[in-house]
């Protein structure tokens, strides 16, 4: 049912989709993928922008972005990088001389500019490439999975993203292969007024293992940009995937991200969600435990300052018996920052022996900050152990005095307390250099 009027900013998306379809013809996109793109454009034309009445949009207003939506450019391209030295300096700095220790895929604005797998992974038969390439070269692996967890009709932004889709990552780890080195994906936005909508698919076959780090960064510039990406992750039976998504956009970027994960029998997913950048962030992570004995461990943190706004929505879906999920989301806010954590544990009928845990901890550093916490349980089986907890507090004066009494200045004491608050989540992030950088980022933010 379309309620789109000619004045709605959503109108801009129609021509984008058409243009994207034309361009896909020239970039040799796999025929099946082009068909999907057209279908997404069709779905898009039936949807309107999310409304405030929608429970998932009541607390996050993308109004400012929607005003400038029509002016965004979804096709800004940068020339392909010959090697890492052609990458933006900020990205190079993050790689921190470890380019040789990981497979690398770098997206700059609307296109992947560097795809560089690693000889070790190549030898192991692991596929690492851009999603665009995968539509041509890995149709058999990709086509049945792409869009099977993240549906175009989820909302307007998702349909729009699927119709203008550019870039993204494809990783495939064959049966029984334990990928020896990590895959790193970087997203960089070069300036204002960009619209970037990459889609990533990761397949870890039965008994395989992999580690992936996805980092998003840009400089703060004048004028809004939108990043509307989607990630679909498939963890096979007895497989293990560690995936960290780190969002550190410049303060002009609106981030809308969807994550969908499916874990099969006795598989294990370690998911890390870190959000420190951007103007406004809206992220949805759905974790399906779809085989007996599947496990999902979700850890995340948000640290907001100035007028930053973070909204994280998670679903732990226990579809089969004997599954475990454990979620911990930490949030620290200063200045006028705002956060919304909206999480739900769903236990399907028959999913007995479920063990599910959900915790949300909030630390407020200013009386202008605001945190909403909405944990929830929907349980349709009886032999379960489901617990959730949410707390909200401030830096306790006793803790401060304890440290200050030992000679630490107030600022130092507060920094220590905030660092200690985040540390349990940071510890779980792969790669020491990334952990150290995050600690530095937190320190810088505490100021």
């Amino acid at each position: 049912m379309s309620t789109t009027t000619t004045k709605s900013p959503a109108h801009a998306a129609g021509p984008w989709a058409e243009q994207a379809i034309t361009r896909a013809g020239t970039t040799r996109e796999g025929a099946w993928a082009l068909t999907r793109r057209k279908a997404a454009a069709g779905t898009l034309s039936t949807l309107s922008l999310p409304k405030r009445e929608d429970e998932l949009w009541r607390r996050t207003d993308f109004g400012t972005l929607e005003q400038s939506l029509a002016g965004l450019d979804p096709f800004a391209q940068s020339p392909t990088a010959r090697n890492v030295d052609d990458l933006p300096a900020a990205v190079l700095e993050r790689i921190a001389g470890e380019a040789g220790n990981a497979a690398l895929v770098v997206q700059r604005d609307a296109g992947v500019v560097l795809e560089q797998t690693h000889p070790t992974l190549q030898k192991q038969g692991v596929t690492v490439c851009s999603l665009d390439r995968a539509t041509r070269e890995h149709e058999a692996l990709l086509a049945p999975r792409f869009g099977s967890l993240l549906h175009d009709d989820y909302d307007w932004y998702t349909a729009m993203g699927a119709s203008v889709r550019q870039g993204g990552l494809f990783v495939h780890v064959p049966k029984g292969v334990k990928a020896e080195i990590p895959v790193r994906m970087f997203h960089w936005i070069d300036g204002a007024g960009r619209l970037v909508a990459p889609r990533t698919v990761v397949v870890v076959e039965d008994g395989a293992e992999a580690t992936i780090l996805e980092e998003m960064l840009s400089e703060t510039v004048e004028g809004a940009s939108l990043h509307a990406g989607g990630v679909e992750v498939f963890v096979g039976a007895n497989a293990k995937l560690t995936y960290a998504q780190l969002q550190d956009w410049g303060r002009n970027v609106f981030h809308y991200g969807n994550v969908r994960a499916q874990v099969a029998q006795d598989g294990e997913l370690q998911w890390m969600q870190v959000m420190v950048g951007g103007r406004m962030t809206k992220a949805n992570g759905y974790f399906d435990l779809d085989g007996s004995g599947a496990r999902a461990y979700v850890n995340g943190f948000m640290f907001g300052d100035a007028r930053q706004h973070f909204h994280l929505h998670t679903l732990q879906r226990h579809l089969k018996p004997h599954c475990t999920s454990d979620l911990l989301i930490k949030c620290c806010l200063k200045d006028k920052a705002r956060s919304v954590y909206q999480g739900l544990i769903q236990v399907a009928e028959g999913a007995q022996r479920t063990d599910a845990y959900q915790a949300n901890r909030n630390l407020l550093l200013s009386d202008q900050a605001r945190a909403d916490s909405i944990p929830g349980l929907e349980i349709l089986a009886n032999d379960v152990r489901c617990t959730h907890g949410a707390t909200l507090g401030y830096v306790e004066p006793e803790h401060l005095y304890y440290l200050m009494a030992r000679g630490l200045p107030r600022v130092e004491a507060q920094r220590l307390i905030v660092e200690a608050f985040f540390e349990p989540v940071i510890e779980r992030i792969p790669l020491a250099t990334v952990r150290d950088r995050l600690r530095g980022e937190i320190e810088r933010k505490i100021g």
Partner: protein, 469 residues
């Protein structure tokens, strides 16, 4: 005790509460809702002009507001297929002897006069749309305590009613509050003067008798400075083939240093939609406590609220929800901290069995400037079989940093070890399960006056009968 597997969870309700009297009323409005009906109700009651205007305005609001899209399924309610006003007697009886014989029988069966003599400070009994009996102890009356039906309150204390009516819950609050504001009838009006401690409970009893009837009682309680009152309400209805609607509004004002406890044992039959708005405002150092037991009804959507307006105010909600076959208990609580140094505690226990759905939906809100607030929310749910469902939706909206807020919830089944422990001591399985459930809700039941605790435990036993096949 029965051991059959397929037994209606509300087994026993039919004999104890499910009877209905032949309809004998002095007036019954036609079915449906429009301006004429509202005008008719107001005219029959001989109300002041402002109340009629208030009702008509509320009717417009009701019509303009959409149905809630969350919570339970209310789509089946046909607002035009309901009798909005059924007047059972020509006037309120002052002595039990004057209550018409059939109604007396009803309340006798439910044990009302007995309870009054034994341990109550006052009793009100509402039958369909009107309060048919009202009585308060003389000693309290002398101290200036007012305990009247809302209609009588409006007649006898128009200024007091006008000052507070609709101030805690405006008719624009939600669709069902608007509906109640348009067609309200009956309910209690209570005023406790400064410093007066009413140390035994006041009770009201609500009964729906007529088929396809809507009951819209309206209660207003004002507890003046340093005063105390405990108000208890109970509700039952006969089992009809079609559904009834109960949509009450309860407003409470607790002034500085006052304390009010409001206890509900809701035991409507399984064909009643129970959509109720309850809210209290608590001023400096005042305490408001809601004890809310929901065992009956087809669907209950009820979230007793406390707005803590001034420093030192304290709010407490103890909630029990038990959903059996065909029941959905969407119970919960709201604590809104509007001032510094306020505290709230919410404890919820929900039980679901035989395909029932019970849950907690709540809100803890801390407004800007309300520093040094504390709030604790604890929700525990027990699911007794694999077809039943439990939901927990606790909302937390915090706009202040110097606060301590905690929420915890667990969902579990009856532990096998617990069952075996009791069964090894010769207790049959169903009794053992009932004992465990009683133990589960014990922290709340112990807050009830003794007679009600006994009643509550009995109701739980009833719900539990035949629970183990």
């Amino acid at each position: 005790m029965s051991t059959e597997a397929e037994i209606d969870v509300r087994d026993g309700y039919a004999e104890k509460y499910g009877f209905h009297d032949t309809e004998q009323h002095v007036f019954k409005s036609r079915k449906g809702l429009d301006r004429d009906i509202v005008q008719q109700i107001s005219k029959l009651k001989g109300e002041p002009e402002w109340m009629l205007e208030y009702r008509l305005k509320a009717l417009d609001l009701f019509e303009s507001k959409p149905m809630p899209t969350w919570g339970g399924d209310v789509a089946a309610i046909d607002f035009q297929d309901i009798y909005y006003y059924v007047k059972p007697t020509s006037e309120e009886a002052k002595s039990w002897e004057d209550v018409p014989e059939d109604m007396k029988r009803t309340f006798d069966k439910l044990g009302i006069p007995e309870a009054e003599q034994k341990f109550l400070a006052g009793v009100g009994a509402q039958y369909d749309s009107e309060v048919v009996y009202h009585k308060i102890k003389e000693s309290l009356e002398k101290q200036g305590v007012i305990f009247l039906s809302m209609d009588q309150g409006l007649k006898d204390h128009p200024e007091l009613v006008k000052q507070y009516f609709g101030t805690v819950i405006p008719s624009s609050d939600n669709k069902f509050a608007a509906l109640n504001s348009a067609v309200w009838s009956g309910g209690s009006f209570i005023y406790v003067p400064k410093g007066v401690q009413v140390d035994v409970p006041l009770q009201a009893y609500f009964r729906i008798n007529t088929k396809d009837m809507g009951q819209f009682e309206r209660t207003l309680i004002i507890v003046d400075e340093d005063a105390y009152v405990h108000y208890v309400e109970g509700c039952t209805a006969p089992i009809h083939s079609s559904d009834s609607l109960h949509s009450a509004v309860v407003e409470i004002v607790v002034k500085k240093g006052g304390r009010c406890r409001y206890t509900t044992i809701q035991n409507w039959s399984n064909n009643v939609y129970n959509l109720v708005t309850k809210r209290a405002v608590a001023y400096a150092n005042a305490t408001m406590e809601w004890v809310d037991g929901n065992l009956g009804s087809k669907l209950t959507m009820k979230y007793p609220a406390i707005y803590m307006m001034e420093p030192g105010a304290h709010g407490e909600v103890l909630s029990i929800a038990f959903a059996g076959k065909g029941q959905h208990q969407d119970a919960g609580a709201k604590a809104v901290h509007c001032a510094p140094n306020t505290s709230s505690t919410i404890i919820s226990k929900s039980i679901s069995k035989d395909g029932g759905r019970a849950g907690y939906r709540g809100l803890v809100k801390v407004m800007k400037g309300a520093v040094d607030c504390r709030s604790t929310v604890n929700c525990d749910a027990l699911i007794l079989d694999e077809h039943s469902r439990s939901d927990t939706y606790p909302y937390m909206e915090i706009e202040e940093d110097k606060v301590t807020i905690g929420h915890e919830a667990t969902v579990s089944k009856i532990g096998d070890e617990q069952l075996f422990y009791l069964m090894a001591r010769g207790i049959p399985e169903d009794e053992a399960a009932a004992m465990i459930v009683s133990g589960f809700i014990e922290p709340i039941v112990k807050e009830l006056p003794m007679e009600y605790a006994v009643e509550m435990n009995r109701l739980i036993q009833l719900q539990m009968e035949g629970s183990v096949g």
